[in-house]
């Protein structure tokens, strides 16, 4: 029979109970890759439905994070008695934009499987494509904010206040507070690990939401608390030593610390932050993916 099938060229599918907790990984990944256009089209279609593809939609993608950042800047500046300069502003928006990426991915991604409804019930396909589609969408929403960041950074470098630096002999030079540096290009590999970290969390939440449908109600509170506990609205070195001790439990501490150092200050951070970011990225991706895969066969029954 299989010989016939081979001659006629029809695929033979075998469905058997899963022996271990996971589906066979190599065929799964192949299948995932073969059907990647589903995730791409789903992401495109949902961006169309959200009018992200229109001029005003695009404009909103630029204005919204900017307004958000301005509100936080005002707030923090008032609390600090108006002492914050452009270097803090760039630190703040760089952190906020990445945090928005994380928050968007999580809130959209958490619902990705439960919203897949009829498609999940009626079609056999690698369901990992559903959270990946939302990851694509949130990445495309993140990109324009990096454009704003570059423009703002350039503007502040050119027009921003200057500081006088004097050497021992008393000779002084005017220096820009901000200046471009090749180190900022390292933001790209750093973001790759941030993406892995967020993708792992998102797939984990997507699977968890099948079992607890109300996670999406708790998420906004959880992410907001997380934002306040992370060095976005303040600098990491402003924290009291006893607080920093707890930050070893907060993945965003090294991740955003690294991100801020690289993209806002253009300085090379400690090796420990690099190691932690890489480890959190790979670890989160592996754990999230494995949890999703181990649960995936259950989704069509639970929805």
């Amino acid at each position: 029979m299989s010989a016939d099938a081979a001659i006629v060229g029809r695929p033979v599918q075998v469905y058997e109970p899963y022996r271990s907790g996971l589906p066979p990984l190599v065929p799964y990944v192949k299948n995932l890759w073969r059907r990647r256009h589903f995730a791409i089209e789903l992401s495109r279609a949902s961006m169309r439905a959200a009018h992200t593809d229109t001029v005003f939609g695009q404009l909103w993608l630029v204005i919204n994070p900017l307004l958000n950042a301005c509100v936080y800047f005002l707030l923090v500046n008032i609390i600090n008695g108006g002492t914050r300069g452009p270097d803090f502003f760039t630190h703040l928006i760089a952190g906020l934009f990445v945090f928005n990426f994380l928050q968007n991915s999580l809130t959209q991604g958490a619902e990705s499987v439960t919203k897949g409804g009829k498609l999940v019930l009626n079609t056999s396909f690698p369901l990992l494509l559903l959270p990946y589609a939302t990851m694509r969408t949130s990445f495309y929403r993140f990109l324009p904010s990096m454009g704003i960041y570059a423009v703002l950074f350039a503007g502040l470098e050119y027009f921003g206040p200057r500081t006088q630096k004097c050497n021992a002999a008393g000779a002084c030079v005017d220096l820009n507070t901000l200046h471009f540096s090749w180190i900022q290009l390292l933001a790209i590999p750093v973001f790759a690990f941030i993406w892995l970290y967020v993708a792992g969390l998102t797939t984990f939440m997507a699977a968890l939401t099948v079992y607890f449908r109300d996670t999406t109600q708790f998420l906004p509170y959880a992410t907001r608390i997380w934002l306040y506990l992370s060095p976005v609205l303040y600098y990491a070195d402003q924290m009291k030593p006893w607080m920093t001790k707890f930050e070893m439990f907060n993945p965003l501490y090294p991740i955003l610390g690294l991100w801020g150092d690289v993209i806002a200050r253009g300085q090379l951070p400690h090796a420990s932050w690099w190691i932690a970011t890489v480890a959190w990225g790979l670890g989160s991706f592996a754990v999230g993916t494995l949890y999703f895969l181990s649960r995936e066969r259950d989704f069509a029954v639970r929805l």
Binding site: M1, A3, D4, A5, I7, V8, G9, R10, P11, V12, Q13, V14, Y15, E16, P17, Y18, R34, R35, H37, F38, E41, L42, A45, S46, R48, A49, K115, G116, G117, K118, L119, V120, L121, N122, T123, S124, F125, L129, Y211, F212, R213, D214, T215, F218, R297, A300, V301, R302
Partner: protein
């Protein structure tokens, strides 16, 4: 087998070969679910206080085995909850069997009770494209079928509108049109003919009949016993997850109808 190896078979000659399209081997499917329709964290926390969690085990399909040769139209009948939909979804690869093995040769297309249109905010065409891509077709393959699908569904400009604007009949038309035009090797239909108005039902039945005459392979779940009788070459009767009977449509259907009448009177006498 060794003789057959010499023969080169082209797809157009496929009916010549007596090939098995679907092979179901001693399959059991057990559901383990909780009672909550929409489980939440809140419930879980509240339950943790009382320390109990009700889990229900349902043996939906028990030790079912059968082969479907290519070109067969197999009807599956049985009472509500007999396990028909469960079995069909396992053949479609949507839920894995708890025990046993299912082999499917060729690409399946499903027209299950739930229909297409998973995302109400997207248009009909977008939903069709996404359904096709998920099922493993390429974008070009789906797009070349757009016109045929739109023409067959015959829902006019609604095809360009978000599916939340559709009536259930319109969604059913689109679902039917999609599954008919995906050129599957095996078509799986679960109670999908009962929706839609009379005119569309006629059109759908005609289309199905055309497929039957072209000796397509099809698995058909239907409560319309007349449809089953006229379309199927073979019928399986599932009863509480077990295969009660299998054979010629007339023989199985007559026994089934008789049993239903007996059961009805028995129920009246015993259950109350």
């Amino acid at each position: 087998m060794s003789e057959e190896d010499e023969v080169i078979i082209t797809p157009s000659q496929r009916t010549v070969v007596d090939e098995v399209a679907v092979s179901v081997q001693d399959v059991c499917i057990t559901y383990r679910t909780t009672f909550e329709k929409r489980p939440t964290l809140k419930q879980a926390v509240m339950r943790a206080g009382r320390g109990k969690r009700q889990v229900k085990t349902v043996e939906a399909v028990k030790n079912v085995s059968f082969d479907v040769p290519r070109g067969t139209v197999l009807g599956i009948i049985g009472h509500n909850g007999a396990g028909k939909s469960t079995l069909m979804r396992a053949i479609a690869g949507i839920i894995p069997p708890t025990a046993g093995r299912i082999e499917v040769t060729g690409r399946t297309s499903t027209l299950l009770a739930l229909g297409v249109g998973f995302n109400p905010d997207l248009t009909g065409l977008e939903n069709v494209l996404l359904g096709g891509l998920a099922a493993g077709l390429s974008k070009e393959e789906v797009e070349t079928r757009f016109d045929e699908i739109a023409a067959f569904a015959d829902i006019g400009d609604f095809i360009e509108l978000p599916m939340r604007t559709y009536s259930s009949g319109m969604a059913a038309r689109l679902a039917f049109a999609v599954s008919m035009h995906m050129d599957p090797d095996i078509l799986l239909i679960d109670e999908a003919l009962s929706t839609g108005d009379a005119a569309f039902k006629e059109k759908a039945t005609a289309k199905l009949r055309e497929l039957v005459d072209n000796s397509s392979t099809m698995l058909l779940i239907s409560h319309a016993l007349a449809t089953v009788r006229s379309m199927c070459n073979e019928v399986i009767w599932l009863d509480h997850g077990q295969m009660k009977m299998r054979g010629e449509p007339d023989a199985v259907l007559d026994t089934y109808i008789e049993a239903m009448h007996v059961k009805k009177t028995a129920a009246v006498m015993n259950d109350f």
